[in-house]
């Protein structure tokens, strides 16, 4: 069970079982669907940005998927709350770089806070799409073109 702890840390399992901000949002200003056709993971992401158009006030999500995608969405919704749209873009880049970096390198965890639990995904390239699904949807939502986000 040693290996399992790395990827399926208690945090991920907890968020999978009781995801935060797991609801639709009536006063959302932005919205996007995320779909991972390979796994059948499917989520809708709701975002409320303040009147200035700069601050992400709240993010919620709904949908179904594996533990990695659900926990990633859950942790993300807490993580980006109150940040600027530009900061969220930087977070996206940091997170994406973390999970797609080589497992032989030291993981760059600075500024990633709770997102660091996803460093283990690096060992499982087939699961990167699961971890990044919510982030892709968030970026699509903020870009506001209303298209369904697909993981690459």
């Amino acid at each position: 069970m040693e290996d399992l702890r790395e990827l399926y840390q208690a945090t991920i399992l907890g968020h999978n079982k009781k995801p935060r901000n797991f609801r639709a949002m009536e006063d959302a200003t932005h919205e996007a669907d995320g779909h991972n056709p390979l796994c059948g993971d499917q989520l809708t992401l709701y975002v409320r940005v303040d009147e200035s158009g700069k601050i992400v006030e709240e993010v919620t999500f709904q949908g179904s998927g594996c533990a990695i995608s659900k926990a990633s969405a859950s942790i993300m919704t807490d993580f980006v709350k109150g940040k600027t749209v530009d900061e969220v873009q930087t977070d996206f880049d940091h997170f994406h770089n973390l999970v797609t970096s080589s497992p032989s390198e030291e993981a760059k965890l600075e500024g990633l806070g709770k997102l660091a639990v996803f460093a283990g995904v690096r060992e499982y390239p087939m699961r990167v799409k699961c971890a990044t699904l919510a982030w892709h949807a968030l970026r699509e939502a903020l870009a506001g073109d209303g298209q369904t986000a697909q993981t690459e």
């Binding site: 290996d3 399992l4 399926y8 059948g40 594996c66 533990a67 990695i68 499982y124 699961c130």
Partner: protein
């Protein structure tokens, strides 16, 4: 039961390896089967000391290579009970074989308003080429229903066979459910009505004796890599008169009789359908795989695998919250399942950390998954090199998974 699985395992070098620091438990043979030393050696010997192009050189090396390639055709024909080796066309895989039939036979014989009948349990390979054909010709696709247990609804299938039905294409064994379809019963329905049949045998040929001449079908396809042979070699079998009437699929070298700018005449079957230099080494490898299987005996293989299936079905029932998807009476050694609290991809990853290789996903059968109301399943599929001990390893790993997600 006398089946010496331990000595068989010695023929498969990869089965002795480790993955993620654990001994490999390979139970994903329905996706692709592992290769015995006999296949690997035949190919490396061919490249190392016997290699030349076929059907052209006048020198001995090329003549010998041609003979080896054609010997493989004869051997494969014997293996599947084809009355004539010319009925065996080498392609890349089952997918290419179906596309060949859809393009060559389909474009000639199918017209607007004609009907193609498929089933709900088809692999995408036996759906998409027909949809593309329907798109080109204006033909209509009809789909036979299945029960919740994963059994084909024969009454519904029969009701779909009408005066406009030109083709019935269905799977011999379902890759996602393991269901073995009652082939002769179905092909006789089609024959009575003059409907051409194509059977997807990708999951059947590795597991049981197949005699195409006794199945009552017109076309039969399978992939070499699922029959313990290499990737890159697959088989289309068709009745000789049908193949002879069909136009070529791809044009080029090797498939012609004579070429001039005034017109070209085509070679007879099978060469008509084998344009360009084929994957010679893989065909030779497939021949070696078939020889290997014949050495063990497909009846023995089927019987041993059935005992594995029964054992695994019983043991899996002891995993809390596990539900087997596909519970037909007639099944190959393929078990799809879901766990109450864990997504199939999480199951796949956790089993991977235990050295257990399974498939998780939609199994290239999205319409089937939708029919069953599932986004995905986990699937363990067994071959004759798997052991009862490996079933135990799988079950123990699933119990750990269940505990983790509880």
């Amino acid at each position: 039961m006398t089946f010496d699985v331990q000595s068989i395992r010695k023929d498969f070098p990869i089965l002795d390896s480790e993955t993620r620091g654990k001994p490999l438990t390979y139970v994903d043979s329905a996706a692709s089967a592992q290769k015995p030393r006999q296949v690997i050696d035949a190919m490396s010997e061919f490249y190392g000391s016997q290699y030349a192009n076929i059907h052209r050189g006048v020198y001995k090396l090329s003549a010998d290579a041609t003979m080896r390639y054609e010997d493989a055709r004869t051997r494969v024909a014997g293996f599947i009970g084809a009355p004539d080796p010319r009925e065996v066309i080498f392609v890349r895989n089952a997918t290419e074989a179906i596309n060949l039939v859809a393009r060559s036979w389909g474009d000639t014989e199918i017209g607007e308003g004609d009907e193609i009948v498929l089933t709900m349990m088809e692999h995408h390979a036996n759906i998409v080429p027909w949809q593309m054909l329907a798109g080109r010709t204006g033909a209509i696709i009809r789909v036979a229903e299945i029960s919740d247990e994963g059994v084909l609804d024969l009454a519904h299938l029969k009701s779909l066979l009408g005066p406009r039905t030109k083709l019935l294409a269905f799977t011999h064994v379902s890759n996602a459910l393991g269901t073995i379809n009652p082939v002769r019963e179905i092909t006789s329905l089609a024959r009575e009505r003059g409907i051409v049949t194509l059977l997807d045998g990708a999951q059947a040929v590795p597991h049981q004796p197949v005699r195409v001449s006794e199945l009552g079908c017109d076309f039969y396809v399978f992939s070499g890599h699922k029959v313990f042979g290499p990737t890159g070699a697959g088989v289309l079998w068709g009745r000789l008169p049908l193949l002879e009437a069909m136009p070529p699929f791809l044009g080029g070298g090797d498939m012609i009789e004579s070429v001039s700018f005034d017109g070209t005449t085509f070679a007879p079957v099978p060469q008509k359908f084998e344009a360009g230099t084929p994957d010679i080494a893989s065909v030779i490898g497939l021949g070696a795989a078939v020889e290997y299987l014949e050495g063990i005996g497909m009846e023995k293989i089927a019987a041993y695998e059935h005992s594995l299936l029964e054992y695994a079905t019983e043991k899996l029932a002891t995993v809390p919250g596990l539900r087997i998807v596909g519970t037909a009476k007639e099944k190959a050694a393929v078990i799809s399942f879901v766990l109450e609290d864990a997504h199939p991809h999480d199951i796949g990853t956790i089993l991977d950390t235990e050295g257990v290789a399974i498939r998780a996903g939609h199994h290239c059968a999205q319409p089937l998954m939708k029919r069953l109301g599932l986004p995905a399943t986990a699937r363990a599929s067994f071959a004759f090199y798997n052991t009862y001990g490996e079933v135990d390893t799988l079950v123990d790993a699933l119990k750990k998974t269940e505990e983790l997600f509880r």
